[in-house]
Symmetry: C2
Subunit: 321 residues, 2 copies
Amino acid sequence: MGEFELIRNYFAAAPCAQPGEGVALGIGDDCALLSLKAGEQLAVSTDTLVAGVHFPEVCDPFLLGQRALGVSASDLAAMGASPLAFTLALTLPAVSATWLEAFARGLNAMAQQCSLRLVGGDTTRGPLSLTVTVFGAVPVGQALTRAGARPGDLLCVGGTLGDGAGALPFVLNQRSAEASTTQALLARYWSPLPQLALGQALQGKATSALDISDGLLADCGHIALASGVGLRVERDKVPMSDALLALFNPDEALNAALSGGDDYRLAFTLPASCLAELIDAGWSIHVIGQVVEGQGVVLVDGLGHDVTPSTRGYQHFRETR
Amino acid sequence: MGEFELIRNYFAAAPCAQPGEGVALGIGDDCALLSLKAGEQLAVSTDTLVAGVHFPEVCDPFLLGQRALGVSASDLAAMGASPLAFTLALTLPAVSATWLEAFARGLNAMAQQCSLRLVGGDTTRGPLSLTVTVFGAVPVGQALTRAGARPGDLLCVGGTLGDGAGALPFVLNQRSAEASTTQALLARYWSPLPQLALGQALQGKATSALDISDGLLADCGHIALASGVGLRVERDKVPMSDALLALFNPDEALNAALSGGDDYRLAFTLPASCLAELIDAGWSIHVIGQVVEGQGVVLVDGLGHDVTPSTRGYQHFRETR
């Protein structure tokens, strides 16, 4: 099977293929064409996942397809953008119809969940890796950047943290436990659901936002730097799931939540006056600290003592998993 | 050095960094933000280059940077789009400051040449490969797709063909010759200059277009299929460079021009009435055949006899180079 038929067979039947949703021309030409409404800007983000680095060499292609798109779409959520479309650059050591069929099913399932339409890409031969580029629309001036946090704002997260990192030893078969207890963590790892609706709900309210991929403390450092402020994180307020706390001792669980990465939850800063309205609207928002004058990120215990750990998150080339 | 500093050090200083050129927010946040003018659509294309498949494992990083962006930008030319921006997903086995510095210089040189601004990307650890996604703007309804060729139109190309494929044995050190004779071919391989201005000049004139990456005959097949027409290519009119003809015998040179790929020249169809105006404007356009009723691509000799070769171009997974 040639490259062209391969792409057509497995990926061209992607969901959300209604015309008029911002996609003027989809797969099959030299470029795809996207349309924006008046007053909108295009949000763009690119992420690569490499076998053996970001996921195990041997893994379920359905889950990989889900995860690859979920991870990328999370960047749209972090900007408050409405999802439009994505491209997929897939590098494969060999063609396997079974593998491709399952991968495409996983990808399409997440595409449907996120209302994203596949509009193009590339298929090449080589060591397994994939690069997803996502596109969203955001009203001019309304994008949630990392740069607007102000002293006095609340520091919030959109859900429990640490599940993705907690899942890793089970993903890598370094640890085992009953399926009923690991299921919740593995679902968070393999099928991270981007908080797209929350991101859009934060438009005009949050003063800064990002999605947590490198670990809460490391990513809070990005907000602090971009906004020129300090962030104070209250250790005892960091939300963790029952599943994480059941599988790990409290120190391990907290470490996963603070520094583990792979959360794909939104972290954002919010004037205190905006909190009640969002909670009334039904959003599950956890206040975990405050924006302060100064710089950097400090973790404090219940007595206000500095308990900041020395290593804060995952960086490629610096540490290995 | 961490991932973030690495990206900032080498790539953030990209050229064309004037605000107001369609880039509302560049590198450093979860997404970049692009703006379009009223009446414009966004053209998007993604290409991956893998070490050992699309370029030699050991090669000059400056040249690789040039080539990676040139190849991708050629897809914007093929749509008649004005260049805006690009993202780079770079997967590297290890950090080498020397390598990155040279690669970034090559990338930036091509970015400047093409008026493209780097707006984001990802840097990951793994086997060397890179995925470039390019963005351009095109007036609504003016994009040059593959689908509009009509019987009676002329089939044209924007320059000599076969140099990229002719360079390959020298790139791979399978063949050697005096530098003075290989220089022109190697330049076409390592620094393919996308025909962006020609693409824009063809807006409202060409009825279909693409850039030749898989070989003239294979790519003409894409136009024929998308347009529901046949294409008749006159073998004796296919333009070849003096350098190609000096280094190869006539059969080898013709094979490179017809089926070699890596040309990154535009192929397009044009009503005969539009030709004179483009030539008067100074464009070097080679008429190499006609659009006819029917389907598929036929190569004919000077007597009109069918001399179509059986294999027509490069496809990943089907053949290896």
